[in-house]
């Protein structure tokens, strides 16, 4: 597999089982196959950050990013989540896509992951973190944890409305960041408090580059 087309990758990630009962406090919005494919395809074919790499996914949810990374030949992609039902779903989905050997899953609290996992253990972190709408600051806590784990780059989704704040935070940590895609995040009405059928949110895909790495 020299280059996998974006459409093919998206196709491979379609119909991944998602949460039956998403937990509001964890902001369990499932990453769509389109967005997952977009993140991973860019990470691999523009920046060479997936193939043969140690990849981590913080708050892996349904496991779609882990599975996509495995399909793009990450050496190992480790998904972390606080929710046992998310991990169970990830394991089943990885088995269903035949990538169990390239995926690891660990139950732990991502917000304090620096006390459980040695820092700088991964090349690349990919994640769709909580946007911090339910637990204020959760987005930046995830980002700090990701920057602690990665040696090379972090790919993360953030609400466009928080762009300046997120990028300023990175800058203060000596981390270069760049918006590499602007996406429309179609949040289906997964929760009862959503009145409309779906809600479009403007989201940035930001690539953060660890100090000393090529920008």
């Amino acid at each position: 597999m020299a280059t996998m087309k974006l459409k093919k990758l998206q196709y491979e990630l379609e119909d991944i089982e998602t949460f039956e009962n998403p937990k509001i406090e964890l902001e369990q919005y499932t990453t769509s196959s389109h967005i997952a494919a977009c993140i991973l395809h860019t990470a691999q074919f523009v920046y060479d950050d997936i193939k043969d790499k140690m990849v981590a996914d913080l708050g892996c949810g349904s496991g779609v990013l882990c599975i996509g990374a495995a399909l793009l030949n990450a050496k190992l992609c480790t998904g972390f989540d606080i929710d046992p039902s998310a991990i169970k779903l990830s394991v089943e989905n990885a088995a269903d896509r035949n990538v169990s050997e390239r995926c690891e899953f660990v139950l732990c609290d991502v917000k304090t992951i620096y006390t459980s996992i040695k820092s700088k253990s991964f090349d690349t972190v990919i994640m769709n973190p909580p946007f911090g709408t339910r637990l204020k600051g959760a987005d930046l806590i995830f980002l700090k944890m990701a920057l602690n784990l990665a040696t090379k780059a972090v790919y993360s989704l953030h609400k466009t409305s928080t762009r300046k704040y997120v990028m300023d935070t990175a800058k203060r940590m000596g981390v270069y960041s760049k918006v590499i895609a602007e996406l429309r995040f179609d949040l289906p009405a997964s929760y009862k408090f959503h009145k409309k059928d779906s809600l479009d949110v403007q989201v940035d895909l930001i690539r953060f580059v660890l100090p000393g790495e090529e920008q």
Binding site: L76, P84, S100, R102, T115, S116
Partner: protein, 125 residues
Amino acid sequence: MKLLTHNLLSSKCLKGVKVGYPLRIVAKDVKISESEYNMEFVLKMIPKLDWKVLVNAAEQIGHGNNLPIELIEDYEDDEELLKKIHHVLMEVEVINGELICPETQRIFPISAGIPNLLLNEDEVS
């Protein structure tokens, strides 16, 4: 759980624990899976590993694989050794068992291949 993952885990998340590393492993079920050997990857991982922890972990679960207790200096040229390391890191998986905190003996279960590092509220440091 692969032994590569074990090499990265600690129980420092527990209240009062200073180092929390390495976690002792008790394995009830071990599975050998297949992973493609990639020399570059193994060479890149070796300097990141705690070698003694890897050797001990492999021995604790009965898959020591004759790894040397001290890593030899010119391991880069020893392909047989690199393949053994690859096997222990990537192919030996603990399916069911326990990880045990070296300081408090708190048990973190491993079930269906998943280590569970979740804590109760009163255990958080």
